[in-house]
Structures are given as C-alpha cells and as structure tokens.
Amino acid sequence: MSAAQEASLGASVLSVRDLVKHYPARGTQRQQGSVVHAVDGVSFDIAANETLGLVGETGCGKSTVARLVTRLLDPTSGTISYEGQDITHWSRRRLRPLRRDVQIVFQDPYSSLNPRRRVGSIVGDPLRIHRLGRKSERRARVEEVLRLVGLDPAHADRYPHQFSGGQRQRIGVARAIVTNPRLIVADEPVSALDVSIQAQVLNLIAELRREFGLALLFISHDVSVVRHVSDRIAVMYLGKIVEVAATDDLFSRPAHPYTAALLAAVPLARTSQARRASAPVIGEPPSPLSPPSGCRFRTRCPYAQQICADVEPPLEKRGSTTVACHFPLSRAG
C-alpha cells in the first residue's frame, strides 16, 4: 500500500485490499482443476463525495468487483472494509442494516426492474425492507425521490414497461438513492441507453452525487463516460488494476501502455482530428483461465522485455500516478 493510500484510509467510505475472486472453470476444464482468475489482487479506496471510475474491457473483472464490494459474491481472499469496519466475512443477517447505506445500479434497466410491480412499490421497497418510516412517510419519500430523478410522481402507479429505457434507468437510480445511501456502486449504468438518453442519466448521476456527497464506484467499459463522471480512475486489465490516477492526469499522461492503448483506440466524433495516428494495439486479452506470467499485458505490449514475463510489476506510486509497469511511459510529455 502506498503512503497516499494509507493516509486516505481514515476517510474512506469503502476500502478494498488484495481482493481475489477465482471461479472454477466450466465444462471439461473444470475436471482439470482450472480456475478463472476473475479478480486477482485488487486494492482501492473511495472517500465520501468521491467518484472512482473503474474502467476496462470485457472480462477484466470490473463487474465481479462490483458484486464483491456489495457482498453479493464472496471473495476468494482479501478484505472489504466499509467505514473502517471489515465486512468481508459478515453474515447476510449482519449485513442487512448495511444494505441501506450501500446501493447498486445495474446496467440493464429492463431486467433489473420487476415487470409485475408498480414503480412506486419498486422504489419504495428498500424503505419497506429496512422498516423506514410509516406508510404515508414512505409514500412521500418515494414521490420526493421520483421528482428528484426527473420522473412525474403521478406515474408511481405505472409499471416498468410503460417507461422508456432512460426513464427505467432513472427508476433504478431512484431505488438506489431512496434510503440515502453513503455509497453507490453503478455497474455500466448507461451502457444500454442511446447516446441522447445516456447524457440525461449521466447528468442526473453527477447532480445527485454533488447534492448528497455520495461515494460512487462507477464501472464502465466506456473511457469517455468514465472520464466525464470520475474524480479518479482505476484501469483494470485481466483481473488486475494496472493504473490509478486523477482523471485529468490519466488522460493527459497515461503511464501504463494499456491505458495509453485504451485511450488511443476511442474513435473521435469530429473531423479536425487526423484519422487514427498510431497503429492499434495488437491482439486481444488472453484467457483469464491462464493469465500470462509477470505482467498480464505483456503479450500485447509494444514495450515488453524479458523482465515483464519474469517479474510481475507491483502497483507503485510514480509521480502523479500509481502504475504497475516496469517501463511506464514518459511522464515528461
């Protein structure tokens, strides 16, 4: 752990250390005792009023992290602390009061809302489960929250299918904030939405965070979306965090070759820019069943040397970034 991480520990709402999640492989590989290294030693902290973006491509383990920190999955090893308390091994019963404070927003606004229940009762569920307030107070709170996310409280009696995708995601957000949580984990909250609607939901999330001082773990594969909402960003590759930095530092001076490749790959919606300047990074992520030795990015990295295969680079503070690379890109430019 770096000194900076240590210092921020006291103020963290969520603090994760060396988190590991291995799954047994499926099918024939299961007999051979293979494991999927979904998350392989991830550490980070989120302070109150801070948004940490977690960005990475398919299979990097970012959604598993979301499920681990909300204790929907049990980690293979490592610790999860919420406001200084180690909750890694708490029972479901003991976790129950905590569920009020830690909420999750899912990607798919279609499958994450029960189609047979009215929106008012979906949003009011957390209040009922935690026995917060009397019935009339709960009703008032649901109306307040619906208004807050930009929905008409008069529509509380409608069913999810009567709303558009963007409105449904607002319902998901309303449900997450109804108990006044301290931490929200948002797992690809705008990926299922059209771009014109995506912007509405991103603005809503940003407003709510400003207003309520929430800690937010914002998970997405989309670097431009993560950049827009995050104070700091952690980049994941094949189960590991390869770089963590303040958003502007990460984008202006990416230190890990994977971060640089990820940023360079995003097509720009404009004409002034010359078309893709650098050649795209080669290959595709290897299987998490048998991750490469040493640095996991080395099989695709243009700067890889022998040491990258022999020694796993530790995540270390270097200047304004924290990076796991033997040959981080120049921080001068």
Binding site: L202, A206, A269, E284
Partner: protein, 331 residues
C-alpha cells in the same frame, strides 16, 4: 452513374399494433471506393435501410417502395433468385454479432468455402485454398491451422474477422456492415475498423457502415447520413455533417457525447425526452417535441431535405431555411 443509388426508399411493416413506417423517403448514393456512414439511434431505421438494400426485409407484412439501384439495376423488384445470386457475390454483408451469424457446428474454413461454392464452380480443394488466403488477408494468425477452428474456439474479434472474410470471399463491389464493431471491445474495434479501411483501399469496394456510434462514423465514413424516426434529417460529407452540423438532432447527438480529450465538460447537453414510438410518430418533423428550436409550423408538415452546401442537405426549415439558391435538387 453511382454504384449504389437509393431513391425515395420507403419501408413499412404491418404489425398488430399498427403500421410501422420504419423508413421514409430515404435517398443517397455511393460510389466505388467510397464509405457511407448511416448513423442513428435505436429505431431510427438505419438497419432496416441496410437490410432492405439486401432484400432482407421482404415479407408479406412489408411494403417496400422506391428504388435501390445497383449499377442501374433495381433490387427492390428483382426476383428472389436473382437477388440471392447478387447477395454475397456483388454485395457482401457483416452483422453485429458474429457468434449468431456463424454456424456453431462447422469449421470456419468450411463456412468460408461454402460461401464461395454457393456462387462459383470450384473444387473443394480450391475453395479451401481460397479460404486460407482469405483468413490470412483478414489478419488471423496461422491461417492454415485456424481454418479448422470452430467459431467457439475464436475470440469475438477473430470471429468478426471470419465474417469479413466470408463477406469478401467473392470480391463484392459493396460491403454492408451493420454495427460491425458494436459487440467488440474498443481496442479490438480499432483493429477491425483499420482492417475494413485497409481491405477497402486494396479492393476499391464501396462500404456502407451502419452505426449508432458517431465516433466510428466520423473515423470511417466519407459521407454521412443521419436518420431519426425513419427519415434522413441531415446528410453530406463527413466534414459537413460532423464538422458543421446544422440539424438540431445531429447537433444534439454531438453535444451529448462525452469526449476523451479536450477540457472536461461540467455538464453534458442531453437531448430532452425520448425517441418517439414508431407506430405513433409526432406529426410534421418527428423531432419537434424534443427540439429547442421548434416552431408551431414544425408540427404541420414534414420538412424537406434542403441543400445548404455542396453535398450538405438538412431537413430543418428553422435552422436551414429554404432560399433561392438552396432549392432541393437531386444529385
């Protein structure tokens, strides 16, 4: 004469809920070696337009009007057998999801060879040899071995390369790619976009890319068509449409996407509301309920596409009003 000329294309589906006018009066043309980007959100009619060019929306419930001319031959009224012959041979296609487009139980080399043998009399060995060459040309390492792989043994990016190999097997003049990279990660997307650009410059084929992603379109296309609720709202060269957008919807799309460079915006500027229901479109300009520039007249009639630049046409009488020099003339 352009390679592909789409004129006043209209596609309507009869459904139990009513008639869905999926595509209305869409016109554009595409030359050899050119790339056209068709951009829009869910339900804009971009995919239906692409599928209709290929004759893949034909059914008893579909009404198709207008013309799709490939080298002057109208595909809309072409008999099914002639259309089938043309599809694959002269027009190739790549879809979003390579896993559901490939047969899971056949080796990829077999699937590529089958595409060749469906159109040409060649021996099994010759077809296989060509499959190996195609697999090599789309950048799949060790092609001699990989032709014997099953689709599930390949990654998403490699499968999409196989789809491209099949689409190019017969050297088509036109490749239609419907969201070719939307199921792929961004680093792999970059590889596939580069591959398509390289293959295009090698073969001189025309490329029609359908995408919801303005970044992909801006990077790939020479010409851009923006669709909303089944109609073209803006079209022109890439510089005209992406660089100097006029239609409030195009502008709205460009302003609502966050960027990876430049200063970070405190707030995005979303387009208010949601896209309309296809069976119950707003009268007049379908965008007017979401438009900041809307006037009462916008709900009265569907705005015509008016010429505002050399290639640039915009369907907005408020921001691109008709003048004496901007009268609409077909190219």
């Amino acid at each position: 004469m352009a390679l592909l000329e789409v004129r006043d294309l209209r596609v309507a589906f009869r459904t139990r809920e009513g008639t869905v006018r999926a595509v209305n009066d869409v016109s554009f043309s595409l030359d050899h070696g050119q790339t056209m980007g068709l951009v829009g959100e869910s339900g804009s009619g971009k995919t239906v337009t692409a599928l209709t060019i290929l004759g893949l929306t034909r059914s008893e419930q579909t009404e198709i009007a207008g013309e799709v001319l490939l080298d002057g031959v109208d595909l809309v009224n072409l008999p099914g057998s002639e259309l089938r012959d043309l599809r694959g041979r002269r027009v190739g296609m790549v879809f979003q999801d390579p896993l559901s487009s490939l047969h899971p139980m056949y080796r990829i080399g077999w699937q590529i060879a089958e595409a060749i043998q469906a159109h040409e009399r060649v021996s099994k060995n010759a077809a296989r040899a060509r499959a190996v060459e195609l697999v090599r040309s789309v950048g799949i390492p060790s092609p001699e071995a990989r032709v014997d792989a099953y689709p599930h043994e390949l990654s998403g990016g490699m499968r999409q390369r196989v789809m491209i190999a099949i689409a190019l097997a017969l050297g088509p003049d036109l490749l239609i790619a419907d969201e070719p990279t939307s199921a792929l990660d961004v680093t792999v997307q970059a590889q596939i976009l580069e591959l398509l650009a390289r293959l295009q410059s090698e073969t001189g084929m025309a490329l029609l890319v359908v995408s919801h992603d303005l970044g992909v379109i801006a990077e790939q296309a020479d010409e851009v068509v923006v669709m909303y609720a089944g109609r073209v709202v803006e079209q022109g060269t890439r510089d005209e449409v992406i660089g100097a957008a006029i239609h409030p919807y195009t502008r709205g799309l460009l302003e609502s996407i966050p960027h990876v460079d430049g200063p970070r915006m405190a707030q995005l500027t979303p387009i208010p509301g949601s896209p309309p229901n296809a069976v119950d479109l707003p009268p007049g300009c379908a965008f007017h309920p979401r438009c900041a520039h809307a006037r009462p007249s916008c709900s009265e009639r569907v705005p015509a596409l008016l010429r505002v630049g050399p290639e640039h046409r915009v369907a907005c009488p408020v921001l691109a009003p008709a003048g004496p020099s901007t009268a609409d003339t077909p190219r």
